[in-house]
């Protein structure tokens, strides 16, 4: 048995943002980006060999910028699953995790702790994808478990039965039906139409409307995160984009609405499938408990749009949004980590 003090951590290594929540009160979210200086000048400029999160994005012209995850899982070579790119992505992700864990230790006097973590993975991540998360945590965490991200959200909210969780991230949108047991493959649907898909659509629509405008996906991503809406009501949205070098105010109200709406059909179709294949006696309970989580849940009017669709196709629907959308998955993972009895952790160790 261990005599060390235990630090429990809930971890969400997301495509766009990586989040940790610790039982010592620390919680931190950083963009999942890492930058390595291009040369000695940029190394001096950034003041080190590596730069993380917002700093990496800010200095993107002077660093090689990497994002280790794509569509919720670690980057992979198209031909070889364990190719060079995959190995590099694994190293970068481990470095990112180390950075996050360092935040957890910032206010800890005792540095000799036993670190336990639960990492959220996309609902239908393959066994290999989940193994990648274990590899990333190897040498960074003392004990680690992997759990489905939407399941973590449900566990954190203590809604373990008759609920449908929709976790809209950057890379994937996970739908998960909860019925009092660990959700299986039939209970979960993953679509790749999520935040990144909205960004891509938004970029194309602006390019089409303002052909001379000069902008990057990062510029419109931030604007989207602050203003995303599919509501018909609301004020006009203007973004300042350089046209021939001159900042020009561009009306992007309808473009942003259209881009955000692009993810709705897959979500509602997923809801329909999961409700229709559920036990008929409990279908009404499921329809009453649709919960939106993840960064995408902040799109204004999305829950109403889904409710309207559910009313049309399923007769009834009640959709609610989690309050702390960014941290909901990591919060649940932390609760899971804390609730896990010591003997279960030990059992896992003996099987290593």
């Amino acid at each position: 048995m261990h005599n060390k003090k235990i630090l429990n951590i809930g971890i969400d290594l997301g495509t766009s943002r990586s989040v940790i929540v610790c039982d010592n009160g620390i919680r931190q979210a950083i963009p999942s980006f890492i930058g390595y200086p291009k040369d000695a000048v940029s190394q001096k400029l950034i003041g080190g060999d590596v730069v993380y999160g917002e700093d990496a994005i800010k200095n993107r012209l002077s660093v090689h910028l990497y994002r280790p995850f794509d569509k919720g899982v670690l980057l992979q070579d198209k031909s070889d699953k364990n190719g060079e790119e995959h190995i590099k992505a694994s190293e970068i992700a481990r470095s990112l995790l180390r950075k996050l864990i360092a935040y957890a230790f910032e206010e800890e006097e005792d540095k000799n702790l036993l670190i336990r973590g639960v990492i959220g993975a996309p609902a239908l991540a393959s066994l290999n994808n989940k193994k990648d998360f274990l590899e990333i945590a190897d040498g960074v965490l003392d004990d680690v478990m992997i759990a489905s991200e939407p399941f973590c959200v449900a566990y954190g909210m203590n809604i373990l039965t008759n609920a449908l969780i929709i976790d809209i991230g950057a890379g994937t949108t996970d739908l998960c039906r909860m019925h009092g047991t660990i959700p299986g493959a039939d209970d979960q649907i993953t679509t790749f139409k999520a935040g990144d898909y909205v960004d891509k659509n938004f970029l194309e629509l602006i390019e089409k409307k303002y052909k001379e405008a000069n902008f990057t996906v990062n510029m419109i991503k931030r604007f989207k995160e602050e203003n995303a809406s599919i509501s018909e009501q609301g004020e006009k949205l203007f973004i300042e984009l350089p046209i021939n070098g001159k900042p020009t105010s561009c009306d992007v109200t309808s473009e942003l609405r259209e881009a955000c709406r692009a993810i709705v059909p897959d979500i509602v179709e997923g809801i329909r499938k999961l409700v229709a294949t559920f036990d008929p006696e409990f279908q009404n309970d499921l329809k009453q408990n649709v919960i939106l989580a993840g960064g995408g849940s902040r799109i204004i009017g999305l829950h109403k749009e889904i409710e309207n669709y559910m009313k049309k196709t399923l007769g009834y629907g009640k959709v609610t949004r989690v309050e702390d959308s960014l941290y909901a998955g990591a919060n649940g993972a932390l609760m899971l980590c804390k609730d896990m009895p010591d003997e279960y952790w030990d059992e896992l160790k003996t099987r290593k």
Binding site: L127, T181, I182, M340, L348, R351
Partner: protein
């Protein structure tokens, strides 16, 4: 001679009467002015007293108060000294205890006890552990 004597006696009598009258008039003036002075002073007295004597009395009181404050400060200093002495004696006792091989006990830490889980949750957690055990198994039999 007889007439001269009468004239001298009459003259002296008149002189005495004149003196007596002058004395009475002077007395009368003196008495009147004295009364006037008395009534004036009796009217002026209280305001003058208020203006002059009361501040002096107040100053007197304050001077007495300052004295008290100085006295109190001395009391505080005495108390502080006694506390310092007590702390010194505790320090020396602790040093003595440590020299004798007895160490000071660490501050007790709050032990975070896990809340008891119901059977349903235990089953769920057990299922997650089983999944994770499966993840750790070698490549053989994987998806």
């Amino acid at each position: 001679m007889g007439q001269l004597m009468n004239m001298i006696i009459k003259t002296s009598n008149y002189s005495v009467a004149a003196f007596e009258y002058a004395g009475l008039v002077s007395y009368s003036y003196a008495k009147r002015s004295g009364l006037a002075l008395k009534s004036g002073i009796s009217k002026m007295g209280p305001p003058i007293k208020r203006v002059t004597v009361t501040p002096l009395m107040y100053c007197g009181q304050k001077i007495g108060g300052i004295g008290k404050v100085f006295k109190r400060k001395n009391v505080i200093e005495e108390r502080l000294l006694s506390i310092v002495e007590k702390l010194d004696s505790i320090d020396s006792r602790l040093a003595n205890i440590e020299n004798m091989g007895v160490s000071v006990a660490e501050r007790p830490k709050l032990v975070k006890e896990k809340k008891p889980l119901n059977d349903g949750k235990k089953m769920l957690l057990k299922a997650i552990v089983s999944e994770n055990i499966l993840l750790r198994q070698p490549q053989e039999g994987m998806q």
